[in-house]
Structures are given as structure tokens and as C-alpha cells.
């Protein structure tokens, strides 16, 4: 019974269409029941997120099942099936398994490695389970998809490197300092961006937080919001000496932190590094500080460059994840395939055994005086022949199941040996 997935995603369908097709939960329940009661689909899971609408199913005729599923989806949402149809992709058997694994592992996501998709797949599966429309095919598929996703997450760094500027700054701080717990942070300027960066730092244990701003009231507001301390603008140089990380975001037209000021401060620090995260435009920290030892300055463009490098690193890790997925697809098919060809093997064996017994009986009836040795020899001869004949087709069936192409071979075996309709 073929496994298939049909749907559309951010890769080929515009957001305008995707949002039209997104289905809410109670409608989804209805849809699942409709689909299953149609007899075309044995099992079905519908995944509907803002980036993809996909139907995973088990059906004798995947094409028919896909048409049925999207016809009712479109009818439900008032979309013309003709606009959707050309955008649909369908994957069957091995390709469907691979697709399910890749989607769950966030390899098919718009932002590779984003963590939400796994939760969404889990919800879709749980809903289908609650509606009792999953069975012996989709259940193992999704359980393994979840474990593959977990392995990808832990064994590769696909989701590890920051893809936002503020998180990239936190990661940089961790490559300079030995952990962020107890690192003092100074915010210069009270912008939204610097508040966000400060929150990320606080989450990692940075403490205490100082806020300096030209407007004293705003400094106090932000300090309160971050459980920090407001620092008068004039005391900026003193504050610089005491902190480890400085986040600047003032609207000042000229740098507010000069190389000379930083040089003075560095003398008293005995090698404690100072990290400037300058997200202001125009920049707040003189670029000349780059030449000072133990001073690290990243402006908004530098941070963007780090994010780009992180994205490239994620893409490299995604390559490793693809290899891992491929191995898991192989394992799944082998397990599934063995389970799939066993009924055929059993009926083939039974059929040949039936023929053998019939023929042995006939022969022995014609030889009433045959000594027991002769009878035994006839038994042995016929058994040996049956086993020899069975060997090649059974091997072929097992091999084909591992390659994910067992259906054709099962059909051939059923035809050739007259086993009746395939189970």
C-alpha cells in the first residue's frame, strides 16, 4: 500500500495562496474524517502551517487521494482547485518518507533549522491520532520522523548559530568571555534594539546592568525595565571601566566613545576584555578602538556579516543532516519493506507447499509398494526443489523492499505464481 505526501510549500506557492489554504483545527478534524470515510485513503495526516499545506496518506491510488484531499480543502476554503493543482507536488514511497523526515528535521524550512516546524508536525500527527485516522503505516513513519528530527538537532549544528543580529552579539560575547554569568553590561542610549540585546545578555546571566542616556528620565525607565541602574551621562567614562560589555545605540551624530577614552580605561583593567556592540547608525564607538588589545568592537554591519557566516555554517551543517536523513530513510524502508513483503513470501511458500504436497500424494498413490526409503526420498526431493525454487524470488522480494520498490515485485510474484490479489 503506497505511502504518499502531496501538498504545496513556501518553495513554490506564494504566501497569498498558502494563507488561503491554511486550515484551523476543528475544520481539520472534519476534513480528516471526510477523507478517511471516502475509502480512497486508509490513513491520513494533514499538516497545515503558514509555510506549507501537506497531506500525508496511505492510498491504493495516490493520485486519486491527492485530488480528493485538495478538492475538499479548496471547496472548504473557497479556492479554485485549478489555481492550486499546478503547484502541488506529490512524493510516493521512499520519496514521501524522505520528505516527511526532512520537513520534521527543519531541512525543508524557509529558515533551515528553525525550531517551530517539529512542534507543528507533532500537533498535526496528534490531531490525526485523536481522530483515529493513523494506523500501521503513518504511525511508524511519524515516530521515526520525530526521532530523526531530534538526532539532527543534537548531532548537527543546524540550529546552533544565531541568525539574528542580537543573538549573534550574544554568541560573540561567549567567544570572548568565559561564560556571561556575572558580566557587567552598560547600555549607552535607550533604543529598542539595545534593549533587546540587553535582554538576551541578561537571559544568559549577565549582571549588573547599567544604563546611560542623555535624557535622565529615559535612562531611569529602561534601567527599571531591565532591573538595572541608571548612570548619569557625565559618568560614562567611569562606568566604562567597570563593565565588560557595552551596547551603544544613541542617535548622536558623532562617536560618544572615543579611542582615547577607551585607551585610558584599558590601563586599569588588567587584561579584562571589553566588548562593544555598536548598533547605532551613525556609529557611537570610534573605529580606532579596533587597534587596542583586548577590545572587540562590532558595529551593525559586522554583526550582519557574522549572521551571514552563521547562515553559511548552518547550510554546511544541513549537508551533514541530509546524509543522516538519507541513512534513516534507508533504515525505515528496510524495516517497513520487510514487514510489507512478508505476507507475499508467506503466501508464496504456502502455494508451493500446497502444490508439493498434492503432487507427492499423487505420486505415492501410484506407488503403493514403495519402501519407506523411497517415500522419504520423494519427500526430500520435492522439498529440496521447492526450497531451491523459492530462494531467488524471496531474495529478490527482500532486496526490492530495501530499495523501496517492493510493490512491483510483489505484483509480479502474485501474477506468476497465481497467488490471487495482493493483500
Amino acid at each position: 500500500m503506497p505511502l504518499f505526501v502531496a501538498g504545496l510549500s513556501h518553495k513554490n506557492a506564494p504566501v497569498a495562496l498558502r494563507e488561503l489554504l491554511a486550515v484551523e483545527e476543528d475544520k481539520l478534524r472534519e476534513l480528516l474524517h471526510d477523507l478517511q470515510s471516502s475509502d480512497v485513503l486508509r490513513e491520513v495526516v494533514v499538516l497545515s502551517t503558514c509555510n506549507r499545506v501537506e497531506v500525508y496518506g496511505v492510498a491504493e491510488a495516490p493520485g486519486e487521494a491527492r485530488a480528493l484531499a485538495f478538492r475538499s480543502l479548496c471547496r472548504h476554503r473557497g479556492v479554485d482547485l485549478a489555481t492550486v493543482e499546478p503547484l502541488l507536488y506529490t512524493h510516493v514511497d521512499a520519496d514521501a518518507v524522505r520528505h516527511a523526515f526532512r520537513v520534521s528535521a527543519s531541512l525543508d524550512s524557509m529558515m533551515i533549522g528553525e525550531p517551530q516546524i517539529l512542534g507543528q508536525v507533532k500537533e498535526a500527527f496528534a490531531l490525526a491520532q485523536a481522530c483515529e485516522v493513523v494506523g500501521p503505516h503513518l504511525h511508524p513513519l511519524f515516530s521515526q520522523a520525530f526521532s530523526v528530527a531530534k538526532r539532527v538537532r543534537t548531532e548537527t549544528e543546524i540550529a546552533r548559530h544565531a541568525v539574528s543580529v542580537s543573538f549573534a552579539a550574544v554568541e560573540l560575547a561567549k567567544k570572548i568571555f568565559d561564560g556571561l554569568a556575572g558580566r557587567a553590561v552598560l547600555l549607552v542610549g535607550a533604543g529598542k534594539m539595545s534593549e533587546l540585546a540587553a535582554r538576551h545578555l541578561v537571559e544568559q546571566g549577565a549582571f549588573p546592568i547599567y544604563v546611560a542616556n542623555r535624557t535622565w528620565a529615559r535612562a531611569q525607565d529602561l534601567a527599571r525595565a531591565l532591573s538595572g541602574t541608571a548612570v548619569p551621562w557625565d559618568e560614562l567614562p567611569t562606568a566604562l571601566a567597570a563593565v565588560d560589555i557595552v551596547v551603544t545605540s544613541t542617535g548622536a551624530p558623532d562617536p560618544v566613545i572615543t579611542r582615547a577614552a577607551v585607551t585610558r580605561v584599558m590601563h586599569g583593567r588588567r587584561g579584562r576584555p571589553l566588548f562593544f556592540i555598536d548598533i547605532a547608525v551613525p556609529r557611537d564607538v570610534e573605529t580606532g578602538v579596533d587597534g587596542l588589545d583586548d577590545v572587540y568592537r562590532y558595529d551593525i554591519d559586522d554583526l550582519k556579516q557574522v549572521v551571514d557566516a552563521n547562515l553559511r555554517e548552518r547550510a554546511r551543517e544541513a549537508q551533514r543532516a541530509e546524509t543522516l536523513v538519507e541513512r534513516e530513510v534507508g533504515k525505515f524502508l528496510a524495516r517497513q519493506g520487510d514487514a510489507e513483503v512478508i505476507p507475499t513470501i508467506v503466501s508464496l511458500r504456502e502455494r508451493l507447499e500446497e502444490i508439493r504436497l498434492g503432487e507427492v500424494k499423487k505420486t505415492l498413490a501410484r506407488l503403493p509398494d514403495a519402501p519407506p526409503e523411497t517415500r522419504a526420498a520423494i519427500e526430500a526431493l520435492s522439498s529440496a526443489m521447492v526450497n531451491k525454487i523459492l530462494h531467488a524470488p524471496i531474495t529478490k522480494l527482500r532486496e526490492s523492499s530495501r530499495a523501496g520498490a517492493s510493490r512491483t515485485w510483489q505484483e509480479i510474484v502474485h501474477e506468476l505464481f497465481g497467488l490471487g490479489r495482493r493483500p
Binding site: 548531532e155 549544528e157 548559530h161 560573540l172 561567549k174 567567544k175 570572548i176 568571555f177 568565559d178 561564560g179 588588567r270 587584561g271 576584555p273 579596533d290 588589545d293 583586548d294 572587540y296 562590532y298 559586522d302 556579516q305 557574522v306 557566516a309 552563521n310 555554517e313 551533514r320
Partner: protein, 267 residues
């Protein structure tokens, strides 16, 4: 017997090095575990080799410089596994094991040697053993310095590359170089003092022009200066790393002099 065992040990170390470098590129847990296993297997063979050697000689396996280097390698591999275990610094092997292999290859060529009976005394063995432990510690000091400079370069140029992702923070690396310096220095110092005292007792002169003695004294001065700079002047980071590298190069020259130049330490 000893030759086979020491060859097996070096093969284990070579395997461990290859896997450690592969881990640096690939970062797969399995590769790292295999690397540690290879290193431990090599180390076990090495341990037996050293025992066999001392039984053959009826003396500590430190009688010739290659043999002494073999002991240094044994200490390096042991420390490597222990430090990785303790600090979780899994990339360390990729930087330290290649050095162990290069030194280990020298050890495979060692013919059994022991000291002229006139020289053999407990003090001389302690002199050699301490010096070797010191060298082992400075291998880590050197590796830490290299890693620090690589990471600092990445952060200063603002172009994160492979090392940015794989190496730990600057502060962690600076601490590693400081601690290994603080560990190696007392060993080197005591080793040198004993050697000097022994020279006076054996030859009647404290200091003749022996290349190994001179060079190791230079290395000692460099390390002493770095340690003093760290303690008194707050040296750290890049400057301390440069000194570590110069110190280590001097140590390597010292060993080279011992192996290839005539003198009291030569064979």
C-alpha cells in the same frame, strides 16, 4: 619486543591524530570517541613498552634522549586525555596529538641506552624525568597559545571562520596557557637545578658550553619572564601567547641540539 610495542603506540597516536583532525572538521561525537580510544590504546601499548624497556635495562627508561622523549610523549598523551575530560575542550587533541606524534616518531628510533655507570644516580633520573614532565606541560602551553591567537584573529578581523565556531572563548584559552605555564615551570626549574648540581658533582664544573644546557636555560628565561610578566605586569592574551610560542620553539631547538649535536646530553 620494545620496538614492536612502541611502533604500536605510535600507530595508535597517528590514528588518534587523524581522527582528532577529522573531528575538528566534522564535529561528530563518534569520531571524537574513536580518537580518544585510539589514543588510549596507543598509550596502553606505550605503558607496556616503557615497562619492558626498564626491565631490559634494569634502570628507568630515560638513559638516552630518544627514550626520555618517549616518556615525555607518554605524559603528553595522558595529560591530553585528562585535560579534555576535565575541561570538555574536545578540540585540544587536534592541536596536541600531532606534536606527540612527531616526538613519538623520534622515540621509535631509540636504541636502548643507559648512562655510563659513573653518572647513574637517583638525582640524574629525577633531573631527566622532571625536565620531561615540564616539556609535556609546555606542549599544552604552546597549543593553548596557538588556539588563542587563532581565535583572537577571528574575533578581531570580524570574519568568523571554522576556528571561530570550533574554539572556545579567549578567556578559556588564556587560562589554559596560564595554567600549563604554571604547571610546567616548577618542573622545568627543578629539573634544571638538579642538572646543574649534578654537573658540578659529576664533572666538577657547573656550566660548560653544552648546547642543551645553554638552550634549556634560554627557554627557562623566556618562561620565567612570561610568568613574571603575567604575575606582576598583568601580561596575558596575545603577548603571553607570543612568549609561549618563542619558549616552545627554544625547547624544540634544545631537544634538537640534544639529538644531533655533541655534548653532555648527546648520545
Amino acid at each position: 619486543m620494545h620496538a614492536n610495542l612502541i611502533n604500536a603506540a605510535v600507530i595508535g597516536y597517528i590514528g588518534a591524530t587523524g581522527l582528532a583532525l577529522a573531528y575538528l572538521v566534522q564535529r561528530q561525537d563518534l569520531v571524537h570517541r574513536l580518537s580518544v580510544l585510539c589514543a588510549l590504546a596507543g598509550w596502553a601499548a606505550h605503558t607496556v613498552a616503557l615497562i619492558v624497556r626498564s626491565l631490559e635495562l634494569g634502570a628507568p627508561p630515560l638513559g638516552s634522549l630518544p627514550d626520555a622523549i618517549s616518556v615525555a610523549v607518554w605524559v603528553i598523551v595522558l595529560l591530553e586525555v585528562l585535560i579534555e575530560q576535565r575541561t570538555g575542550l574536545r578540540v585540544l587533541g587536534a592541536f596536541v596529538l600531532p606534536i606527540a606524534v612527531v616526538l613519538g616518531l623520534k622515540a621509535t628510533s631509540a636504541r636502548p641506552g643507559t648512562l655510563v655507570p659513573a653518572l647513574a644516580s637517583a638525582w640524574i633520573w629525577i633531573h631527566i624525568a622532571l625536565a620531561m614532565v615540564g616539556i609535556a606541560a609546555f606542549v599544552f602551553n604552546f597549543a593553548g597559545a596557538i588556539m588563542y591567537l587563532l581565535q583572537e584573529r577571528q574575533l578581531k578581523t570580524k570574519r568568523p571562520g571554522a576556528f571561530y565556531y570550533r574554539l572556545p572563548s579567549l578567556q578559556t584559552l588564556d587560562r589554559l596557557t596560564f595554567r600549563t605555564l604554571a604547571l610546567g615551570f616548577p618542573f622545568l626549574t627543578t629539573g634544571l637545578v638538579l642538572g646543574t648540581l649534578w654537573a658540578r658533582a659529576a664533572w666538577g664544573s657547573t656550566f660548560t658550553f653544552d648546547p642543551v644546557a645553554v638552550l634549556s636555560f634560554v627557554a627557562w628565561l623566556i618562561y620565567a619572564g612570561t610568568l613574571a610578566g603575567r604575575a606582576a605586569a598583568g601580561w596575558h592574551g596575545r603577548r603571553a601567547a607570543y612568549f609561549s610560542i618563542v619558549g616552545f620553539v627554544t625547547l624544540v631547538l634544545t631537544l634538537g641540539a640534544g639529538l644531533f649535536l655533541p655534548g653532555r646530553h648527546g648520545s
